[in-house]
């Protein structure tokens, strides 16, 4: 006697995939094959859903219900920052240990903070922005041609104002 809106009817699977590419099915197939889903088709769906993050490793959520799977990207601060850097595509096998030494505008960081706000426990947009700046520091890029930590200090000192929304 299945009640309406039974959360047990929906299965969620999480996996890491490189954006825009049809990855190896070996990891996926044993989990989704018995549920009636073709690993090949799901691989293609994942590639389509991650087109915007081409070449970047992202976490993908597969929502499986009634023999159908819907793929969506779980946004993460690092993948959003690297995407914003708009680096040229690279051959991951040949070019290793890349430095993400590009520059982002503070507006780009604030836009990323808006996307990540729901996931973050930060009370205000300013606190979420500081979290994203921290991620930018880890990645090694610059914000407004400065060290991201300097921007954090400027926000704390009130020199830079971050909007409410």
């Amino acid at each position: 006697m299945p009640p309406k809106f039974d959360p047990n009817e929906v299965k969620f699977l999480y996996l890491r995939a490189v954006g825009g590419e049809v990855g190896a099915s070996a990891a996926l197939a044993p989990k989704i094959g018995p549920l009636g889903l073709s690993p090949k088709k799901v691989g293609e769906d994942i590639a389509k859903a991650t087109k915007a993050f081409k070449g970047i490793k992202v976490t993908v959520q597969l929502r499986i219900q009634n023999r159908q799977a819907v793929a969506s990207v779980v946004p993460s601060a690092s993948s959003l920052v690297i995407t914003a850097l708009k680096e040229p595509p690279r051959d991951r096998k040949k070019e290793k240990n890349v430095k993400h030494s590009g520059n982002l505008q503070l507006e780009d960081i604030i836009e990323i903070a808006r996307q990540m706000r729901e996931k973050s426990f930060g009370k205000t947009l300013a606190s979420v922005t500081k979290e994203i700046l921290g991620t930018a520091q880890s990645i090694g890029c610059r914000v407004n041609f400065k060290n991201p930590h300097d921007i954090i200090e400027a926000i704390n000192a009130g020199e830079i104002e971050i909007p409410e929304n």
């Binding site: 006697m1 009640p3 070996a26 197939a29 073709s38 023999r67 159908q68």
Partner: protein
């Protein structure tokens, strides 16, 4: 449903200050002659439309609380003991010694409770304003094809008309209903039905009436329960909620969409708007009950949805006919035995695996190591289905299914119009199921 019944329900709910109903919401008769909720004017995304306090819901927690409260009151002063609700529960729990709640499933306890409240206490029940808005048994008799079968009404034979998927699912439901009946019938038959029984009522007629009422309550719970977290036991986690159960199902998520949410603080059941819209006139609001096929909707709730994107065709019997015992054993070993389906523009991977196995192995010959290895590569994703010649087999199966659909549709259309309401509703619903099947088959053939 009459205005008086609706007003009685609202007045009852309003006794609790935490009940909320948006002034833009009102009850309507939907296009199928049933009841729905509609909204007029502007509604905003995530706006609260309805809030029902927990005490008005029927679930295992509220039922236990209600029954024990009534039982405790019975131990109070003599004036209180004359109340029928206290007498009936005291009698069941203590005097008859028939019921040890731990021996019964949650569903059975709630069936018992609703039976007593609806048919023994009737207007004296606390839940009467809610219960009197629920559908009648005749509504279910017309819309749920296996109910006449449970009542042995042989003139409404449906098994040769319905699909395999429907038959399989409805058999599971029938078994569950009969298990519940066999477990609790001794309690129901011993209840004092003083409102209905008289010296002229035969035992057989009385038992039939009680069974019919039991079926009515079972169908009400089955078709109207909503998921609600109560305990860690899966069987406990459902509830019936007044007013919310008027909201109908739609596969489309559009301006009329709304969604449920349980308030974790107050445990109220709340309904929120799924979009910002400005309706001119009345527009029905819908839920999406879940991605369910028409076979499922018909067997669980008694309705179908034309052009249902969640429809699928279960071709398991046709595929199993092609398999020999060795192939069946192998598929069972790798976890791919059974559940072979076809959906819109897609064949289930399980079906592909089974047909791929048939295509590479000959009948009555052991499966070679090389063939097993090829199959393992297929299910592991290192070999694609294009490496197997299964399409001809699949085409044959789908063509057989198509011919069967056409045959059944002709049978349904040939039945005379102007038959009684039960036959007309069956045929109309089952036709919609098969029309969905035809669309699926057209998309894959």
């Amino acid at each position: 449903m009459s205005d008086e019944k609706y007003q009685l329900l609202i007045d009852w709910l309003k006794q609790d200050n935490s009940f909320y109903l948006s002034p833009n919401i009102q009850i309507i008769e939907d296009s199928y002659g049933g009841i729905g909720l509609a909204c007029k004017g502007k509604k905003y995304l995530n706006e609260k439309l309805i809030s029902i306090p927990e005490k008005y819901m029927i679930n295992i927690k509220t039922v236990e609380r209600h029954v024990h409260m009534q039982d405790e009151l019975q131990k109070g002063d003599e004036k209180e003991r004359t109340k029928p609700s206290q007498n009936i529960y005291h009698k069941i729990l203590h005097e008859d010694k028939n019921i040890m709640p731990d021996e019964y499933s949650t569903n059975q306890l709630i069936i018992l409770f609703m039976y007593v409240e609806m048919f023994i206490l009737a207007e004296k029940s606390f839940f009467y304003p809610f219960l009197q808005t629920l559908p009648t048994f005749e509504t279910f008799l017309c819309s749920v094809p296996y109910l006449p079968d449970l009542l042995r009404m042989k003139q409404y034979e449906f098994k040769n008309k319905v699909s395999y998927a429907f038959l399989k699912h409805s058999n599971t439901i029938k078994r569950r209903i009969m298990d519940d009946w066999n477990t609790i019938k001794h309690i129901l038959l011993n209840l004092n039905h003083s409102l209905d029984d008289d010296a002229n009522t035969s035992d057989k007629s009385r038992n039939t009436r009680i069974f019919q009422r039991f079926l009515h309550v079972s169908m009400l719970i089955n078709s109207r329960c909503l998921y609600y977290d109560i305990t860690e036991e899966k069987q406990d986690n459902f509830t019936l909620v007044p007013l919310v159960d008027f909201i109908n199902h739609s596969v489309a998520v559009n301006g009329g969409h709304c969604y449920p949410k349980v308030n974790k603080l107050t445990r109220s059941f709340e309904i929120y708007s799924g979009s910002t819209t400005d309706f001119e006139g009345l527009n029905e609001v819908f839920f999406n009950y879940g991605a369910h096929s028409n076979d499922f909707l018909l067997s669980e709730y008694g309705f179908v949805v034309p052009n249902n994107p969640s429809d699928f065709i279960d071709i398991t019997p046709r595929v199993l006919k092609l398999l020999n015992p060795i192939q069946i054993a192998f598929l069972s070993e790798i976890g791919y035995l059974g559940d072979y389906t076809v959906t819109y523009e897609d064949i289930s991977f399980r079906t592909i695996v089974a047909l791929a196995l048939v295509s590479i192995t000959a009948n009555n010959v052991a499966i070679t190591t090389e063939q097993k290895s090829k199959m393992i590569k297929l299910i592991n994703g290192t070999l694609y289905e294009t490496s197997f010649n299964y399409k001809k087999l699949l085409h044959t199966i789908l063509q057989e299914e198509l011919d069967d659909c056409h045959e059944k549709l002709e049978l349904l259309r040939a039945e005379k119009e102007g038959g009684n309401k039960i036959i007309t509703t069956f045929n109309s619903n089952i036709q919609i199921v098969y029309e969905g099947y035809l669309q699926i088959l057209k998309s894959v053939l």
